[in-house]
């Protein structure tokens, strides 16, 4: 458990512009009607993509439909990405599509935590840098984006941008301690001791 280390992610980028992109948009609720996460990647942003009822309102090709970004490994987003519902179906679907890291201005806490537990780092960069990274990816979609955790950097076209990930989370990815279930199960006597000191557990 948790022995897999995550040190970097690299591959094509996929820019998904917009602040406050909620998990209902990323994965509409009707696709949560299943007892597994399998196949969810087919429904990412479904209601705003080609062939959808809402696509007529949209301008241009949706990034997730754009053939230039097919096979991307690094998603690039703006502010408060993944807000709203706690549905892990959203990061699960991105991971299943092949996304291995997300670079953004900021993330919702629940989305961020879910992504950590499935091994998909969500790193932040300054708004200006995110803007530049998006432009570079849009100009040359075939270029490789590399998110490198030990050096806190994102490299594209030979240009390096500073990225941030809370130090402990970064170290957890690098050392393989990011999958916390095993850690939580260690030393269970300590857990019982905490439970024993809580008056409500003993019925007051």
């Amino acid at each position: 458990m948790g022995a897999r280390t995550i040190v970097f992610a690299e591959g094509r980028g996929l820019p998904m512009r917009g602040d406050d992109i909620d998990t209902d948009r990323i994965m509409p609720a009707r696709f949560l009607r299943a007892v597994t996460f399998e196949g969810l990647e087919r429904h990412l942003f479904e209601d705003e993509r080609a062939g959808s009822a809402a696509a007529a309102q949209a301008h241009g090709v949706h990034p997730f439909d754009n053939p230039h970004y097919r096979g991307a490994s690094v998603l690039v987003v703006n502010r408060n990405f993944g807000c709203g519902s706690s549905r892990e179906h959203a990061p699960q679907a991105l991971y299943r599509l092949g996304i291995r890291a997300v670079v953004g201005e900021s993330f919702s806490e629940i989305f961020f935590g879910n992504a950590v537990l499935i091994g998909m780092p969500c790193v932040t960069a300054s708004p200006d840098d995110v803007h530049e990274i998006m432009e570079r990816v849009e100009e040359r979609p075939e270029t490789v984006v590399r998110v490198d955790l030990p050096s806190d950097s994102c490299e594209i076209d030979g240009v390096t941008y500073d990225i941030r990930l809370p130090g402990n989370v970064r170290d957890a990815f690098i050392t393989g301690a990011w999958d916390t279930t095993g850690l939580l199960l260690d030393g269970y006597a300590d857990v019982d001791a905490v439970a024993a000191r809580l008056p409500y557990v003993g019925g007051f």
Partner: protein
């Protein structure tokens, strides 16, 4: 220097600091439902793990349940599959379940409090972002994803980053026709949908202190819509009075000991906060959302703002208005609605239904409006029926349904169709949220939904609040 409730609860539930630097926090109550748990139970089976504390776990069904015909097996094969899966998992792992045929069934954030499972000073987790609701009792309650559900099932613990605390003091008294929903929508509008990231929101001030538990739950419920995963109100006499006599609440001498402990967990008067915000209650008006997130709202007597007026990114406002088919400068009042929905974990409790019934009493739903009331639990439904609220709603032309999440998120047959406009007492106006990819949601208080249902358009409930019954058409 004193401590906040958050700090006290956090310290008391801390098991250790993990090698990741996160805190391992014991979870006092784990609430589960059918949508975010099947994969977690599969993970337990695959690893041969048991549920650590089935006695601190409680299950119900809410998200996917039909609200019209509850006979099993459901016509909806996938819903049947998900409910059957939860039933099997609860049986196999020894978890108590308030299933579809149980008098205790309902929306998980309605039944936890009404059963007395939710108590001050607890840590609570549930695979649903609106778990913040339980903070109304002075619990610290986290919405979590499915991998974390797996962790809590297996270990009764979560690995979490510490939170800062922002105190939001709602001072003064609310005017008539202005409700808890208007307070929280105003808070989100002012602080932004991402403004609470990294914070727990502590709601305080006279207006909050005067609120009933139902109202406090409405406020805490929508903390997450402001980006705050956790929101809470310090426990007080209102909290203890609510809990006394509930099935899972302590009784007799234990209740007295519990009450003393609950009081001790409240934030100290000299506690330090990372941020402090004041909202003046008397300045508030009924609020309606015009956009595609809960921060995009205006007072019912105002006009829809341009990007600059809204203090938001112009492109985001243009995108929201295009989706909503609205124009800047247009008054929000008078906007025609097709559907009126009273329900959801935000506003489906007895007091919500009473306020809405007070508005519709003696009036009729406009002919073009489809209106439905979905009580939050079996218990709320029965209590409302004992008071005759169902008769008032039915006589006015509302459908009277059974408990569930229903049209808040459209995972059951209750969905918007096409680009219908819905006056809704729920919590999210995201694109496609209510089950139609082009559906349009206007968030507002249950009383405002009732007023919109009657008028057939967005209307100021304050005009109806003080009118005698039957005075409006």
């Amino acid at each position: 220097m004193g401590k906040t409730l958050l700090r006290k609860v956090w310290d008391l539930h801390t098991v250790r600091t993990l090698p990741t630097g996160q805190t391992q926090l014991f979870i006092g109550l784990h609430l589960i439902h059918e949508v975010t748990t099947p994969q977690a139970f599969d993970a337990l089976r695959a690893r041969g793990w048991r549920v650590a504390r089935p006695d601190r776990t409680f299950a119900t069904v809410d998200h996917i349940v039909p609200t019209r015909e509850r006979r099993r097996p459901f016509l909806d094969v996938m819903a049947e599959d998900m409910i059957a899966s939860l039933e099997r998992n609860c049986r196999d792992f020894g978890i108590p379940l308030a299933g579809l045929d149980d008098d205790r069934q309902g929306i998980v954030h309605v039944i936890g409090p009404e059963l007395g499972l939710t108590q001050p000073g607890m840590t609570i987790a549930c695979g649903d972002s609106h778990t913040s609701t339980h903070g109304a009792f002075g619990a610290v309650a986290f919405g979590i994803g499915t991998s974390q559900v797996r962790d809590v099932l297996a270990s009764q613990c979560l690995a979490l980053e510490p939170l800062r605390v922002r105190r939001i003091r709602v001072t003064g008294a609310l005017p008539a026709g202005v409700y808890a929903k208007d307070v929280v929508l105003t808070i989100i509008q002012r602080l932004g949908v991402g403004g609470g990231v990294g914070y727990a929101y502590e709601y305080a001030g006279e207006a909050i202190e005067r609120m009933s538990m139902d109202e406090r739950m409405t406020i805490c419920n929508m903390s997450i819509e402001g980006g705050a995963r956790v929101g809470y109100v310090n426990p007080d006499r209102t909290t203890a009075d609510y809990l006394e006599g509930r099935p899972f609440a302590p009784a007799g001498g234990a209740f007295d000991r519990a009450r003393a402990w609950w009081t001790s967990m409240a934030s100290d008067p000299d506690a330090a906060y990372d941020d402090d915000v004041e909202i003046r209650a008397e300045e508030l008006t009924p609020v309606v959302t015009w956009g595609v997130n809960p921060g995009q709202s205006v007072g019912v007597d105002a006009t829809i703002p341009s990007g600059r007026e809204a203090g938001m990114d112009a492109a985001a406002v243009a995108d929201a208005l295009a989706y909503m088919q609205l124009q800047p400068g247009q008054p929000i009042a008078g906007l025609r609605v097709d559907v009126a929905f009273i329900g959801s974990c935000t506003n489906s409790r007895l007091s919500d239904l009473r306020e809405a019934a007070r508005i519709v009493s003696g009036r009729r739903v406009a002919p073009h409006v489809k209106a439905l009331v979905v009580p939050g639990s079996v218990s709320v439904k029965r209590a409302a029926e004992r008071e005759g609220l169902d008769q008032i709603f039915r006589a006015a032309g509302f459908e009277w349904r059974s408990a569930g999440c229903s049209m808040c998120l459209g995972m059951n047959p209750d969905k918007l169709e096409g680009s219908q406009v819905c006056a809704t007492s729920s919590n999210r106006n995201f694109k496609g949220r209510q089950g139609s990819p082009t559906g349009r949601s206007l968030l507002m208080s249950p009383a405002m939904v009732a007023a919109a249902a009657v008028a057939g358009e967005v209307t100021d409930v304050r005009k109806l609040v003080n009118q005698p019954e039957g005075a409006a058409s």
